[in-house]
Symmetry: C2
Subunit: 211 residues, 2 copies
DNA sequence: GACACGTCATGAGTATGCTCATATATTCCA
DNA sequence: TGGAATATATGAGCATACTCATGACGTGTC
């Protein structure tokens, strides 16, 4: 009986545990060796499982990285939503807070982001096998940005421009990441300045374009 | 003597010829099968050489694709320079012509661009081995864009904003490519409309920001 | 408790980008 | 012209992301 009770859900428990161990091992290796230099064999070894098992949980090595970015995006959206000071702030401040939150989260992993990010987050091409999950993440992110824009600029005041805005912002986000990755100024202050300046301009264009 | 004369420069001749054959074979395969599905073995076979030889000419498979983009960028810059009608046109028209020229060149190879482009052109990360050549291409391209901006907006009238402009344009270019790749409208007219609209705004921001 | 069923870990195997020691072709020089 | 020196082609071999047939193990039923 006791044995039976203990064994209930053992499989599910184990699955969760293994998944957790893979992610933990992978992130640690990505951070210390970079993405490319981390082999799936090493991930498996560090997680204490067979190499094949990794692929029972993640379709590809990049998929593990994608899981990381899902957490990153979720965390950033929550940070903006849960900050009451931002509730009535202008659009550019909200977006600035969003991006800042993302970059802070990414900072400790800078080393592997350059290699993995763009591959993992780019809009799906018919060639790539990772399209669905990445597309979904992108969709969720863009939906959030759209909400933020609508909060600041009521629908009836929007121009045709606002239709494009989330797409443009997605590209801008990629650009900001690239900028950040190559920013060697102290504390990445150049990036901060760049974000500040460009978001101000962007938001003002959106506002002025209303008709 | 005759033999000797014939053999002079034979090596150099052969080198050029083989290089040409590799590029030709690779492009044809990229176009028909896509980038990922094209193996280096197949490229070598189609070019009539051993697999190892490919790597005597190009450091990596992606490097072959990069060569293609070099041609693409060179061709587009020349197209803008050699068009007398553009000599005195406003900035946005020059940039529009530049991008249009690039997209036209890329059109027949759309299938493999999604897979290869971003990898090949992104700014170097310390991890990537392709940094130097890609960086150089990017540099040349940005220098050209800077020239175009200076032609339209004299140095003394520029704001701090114009300092960022080429970097921003580079990101914008990547974005435009992504947009184009996923544009299923007839004749890619959505992309054309997008370029037109966004460049107009961009140029006007640059002009207004002068101080 | 034992048996049947389904799920999941396993690791040898596969495909492929790339390397490297060797063979071959070309050039140079006497 | 012949032979040394150099450049280049070659393909077997390596590393590694990913697959798949197999067996071990958890789960539900009697």
């Amino acid at each position: 009986m006791a044995t039976k009770r203990r064994s209930i859900g053992r499989r599910a428990q184990n699955k969760q545990e293994i998944r957790r161990r893979i992610v933990k091992a992978a992130l640690s290796l990505f951070q210390s060796k970079g993405f490319d230099a981390t082999t799936t064999k090493a991930i498996a070894r560090k997680a204490g499982i067979a190499e094949g098992t990794v692929f029972n949980y993640f379709k590809t090595k990049e998929d593990i990285a994608l899981h990381f970015f899902e957490q990153e995006v979720d965390q950033a959206m929550a940070a903006v939503r849960n900050n009451p000071r931002l509730r009535k702030a202008p659009l550019e401040e909200k977006l600035f807070a969003l991006l800042n939150s993302q970059l802070e989260y990414l900072a400790p992993y800078e080393r592997f982001i350059g290699a993995a990010l763009i591959h993992a987050l780019k809009p799906a091409s018919p060639l790539g096998p990772f399209s669905h999950r990445a597309q979904e993440l992108r969709h969720r992110y863009l939906g959030f940005v759209e909400e933020l824009i609508e909060e600041s600029i009521p629908k009836r005041k929007q121009s045709q421009l606002t239709f494009f805005a989330p797409e443009v912002f997605w590209i801008y986000y990629l650009g900001a990441l690239l900028y950040w990755l190559h920013d060697s100024s102290e504390g990445k202050q150049n990036t901060t300045a760049f974000l500040d300046r460009s978001l101000t301009i962007g938001a003002s264009v959106l506002r002025q374009a209303r008709r």
